[in-house]
Amino acid sequence: MKRAHRLRILGLAGGLLFLSLLPLALQRVNRGEYYLHVLTLVLLYAYLSTAWNILGGFAGQHSLGHGIFLGIGAYTSTLLFSRFGVTPWLGMWVGALLAGAVGAFIGFLCFRYGLRGPYFALATIALAEAMRYVVSNIPYLGGARGLEVVWKGHNLAIFQFSTKAWYYYVALFFTVICLAISAWLNRSRLGYWMVAVRENEDAAAALGVDLVRTKVIATVVSAVLTAIGGTFYAQYFTFVNPASVFGEGPSVQILLYSIIGGLGTVWGSAIGALVLVPIAEFTRARLGGTFAGVHLLIYGAILMVVMLFMPQGIVGVVQKVVRRRPRAKEDR
């Protein structure tokens, strides 16, 4: 057992090392900056969907409106930075706090009154859409055009960089932390409570699991993490507008990676992002600005295909193959 454990650590360390050295290698490659951009996006979406997975995969409450938290994070830090000169590093935490509060409120309201499955999904869609509409109509928040993150020069202190590599490393850092949190949850009491809620609410309650509290905590954790990702989003793309964060697209994208990769697993979301984001990006590059919504078209199609033929996702398919082997001690 020890040996398997040691191998895992070695593997993870090696992977991290590889990822850390990647930007340096890509500098020598033709169009290296572009590939770095794609990788940064992979990391960003791996981060966001891993965060979503805490509520949607572990706790089994499929939010279809997670853009709410993404947007709260993005808008808060951008607003504080553009209007008050507060560094996004600080604005990030303000956004996270706000998102956590909103998540707690929404979560408590929904779960206290027993909203489940499709009704919860409907509620989150409605709330995200309401957010989008309201923010579009508030001039102070930039209206439908949104807010710009004003370029003030390369400066770590204000989360602005002139080369992609810096953003890449920040994204890598965030993603590693998010995965670590996810992995910790996976083996912790709180995480098992979430899974119990997902698997069988009555059985969970009979074994001492506070259903509402667990679901709300999952919502808050997920919301906080997502909002932090929202700040990165804003800094990376240097602007934020209602449709790009509160719209149907972002919310669906985030959960899509988890579904493709395998709901409720630690790595599933990241794997899903790793597979899908490059596809979308390269397609977008090929067909360029001519077809604005091509990547969403592809995502929608993939979502449909997966629901029709492979609802368990990639990891689920792999697990089915793996299960043919005789039972040995395995990690979930």
Partner: protein
């Protein structure tokens, strides 16, 4: 508050409410029969509107004659999409069904974006300028016709459900699909027809709206969302409820926009929606078939 302004808003709200109702009846029918929440419902309307638009602009058809095209076309579209993508997930967990129709909605929206760009299109018809005046209130002809047409279509559908064999089969299948099967009703086929009818309602609504509403790839988002609100308000699966709730929402949207500043009217609608989901998910009238 200016009473004539309010009266005007009320009239317009009533008219658009009729159209809302027609759009929602399709959705509530589908949910009532097979318990599927079709998140692409708004996109079907969008398809219908594009068909109606091109029929008017390219083929020079009178907008109301386009009904002859949009209704069968939407029925067909609905039936095909049902058979190809929805039938396979009828017995899957509801989240899978939701995600499927969400994916479908994305596909349809963005296909439209690819083909038609983000252009907002408006079909100029002679009806647009026809108005009647009653006192200080203006009755816009296209909206009045749309309201009348919606009421007519809804009544027709109601008659269909209550008095024909097909309608009875649909109601039977929605109440107890197993028992219906035992009675010799082909449930799958009934679902197909019901889905087609629900979509065809959107064809009617599309043709009725073309004289006074624009069409774009994202036009379905608003109507789809409103339809959900109405369906929940009226009681999911409740035909009459959808009618009443449709008119209510039409009125609140219109009056709200007249009375409240900016976007608050829409927020009010959403707030009501969420409140109903939380405290009275069975709607104003509760669950009742047909």
């Amino acid at each position: 508050m200016n009473t004539s302004l309010l009266a005007q808003a009320a009239v317009n709200g009533l008219f658009i409410g009729g159209v809302f109702a027609l759009i929602s009846i399709g959705l509530t029918l589908i949910w009532g029969v097979m318990r599927i929440i079709n998140f692409a419902h708004g996109e079907f309307l969008m398809i219908g509107m594009y068909i109606a638009y091109f029929a008017v602009v390219r083929a020079g058809l009178d907008p109301y004659l386009t009904l002859l095209v949009t209704v069968p076309a939407l029925f067909l579209v609905g039936a095909l999409i049902f058979w190809g993508t929805i039938r396979p997930v009828l017995s899957a967990p509801s989240m899978n069904q939701i995600l499927l129709t969400v994916g479908l909605s994305l596909v349809l929206q963005n296909l439209a974006l690819v083909f038609f760009k983000a252009d907002v299109l408006f079909a100029q018809t002679p009806y647009a300028k026809m108005n009647y005046r009653i006192g200080s209130v203006v009755l816009e002809m296209p909206k009045l016709i749309a309201f009348a047409g919606s009421v007519l279509a809804a009544s027709l559908l109601y008659w269909l459900l209550q008095s024909t064999d097909l309608g009875r089969a649909i109601r039977a299948a929605s109440q107890n699909s197993r028992a219906a099967q035992l009675m010799g009703i082909n449930v799958r086929q009934t679902y197909l027809v019901a889905f087609g009818i629900g979509s065809a309602c959107l064809g009617v609504a599309a043709s009725l709206m073309i004289p006074f509403y624009y069409v774009s790839p994202t036009v379905g988002i608003f109507f789809g969302t409103i339809a959900f609100v109405i369906v929940v308000l009226g009681g999911m699966g409740n035909f009459l409820g959808a009618l009443v709730a449709g008119v209510i929402i039409g009125l609140t949207e219109s009056l709200g926009a007249a009375v409240l500043p900016g976007s608050l009217a829409r927020v009010f609608t959403f707030a009501v929606f969420v409140l109903f989901l939380l405290f009275r998910p069975t709607g104003i009238f509760g669950r009742r078939q047909g």
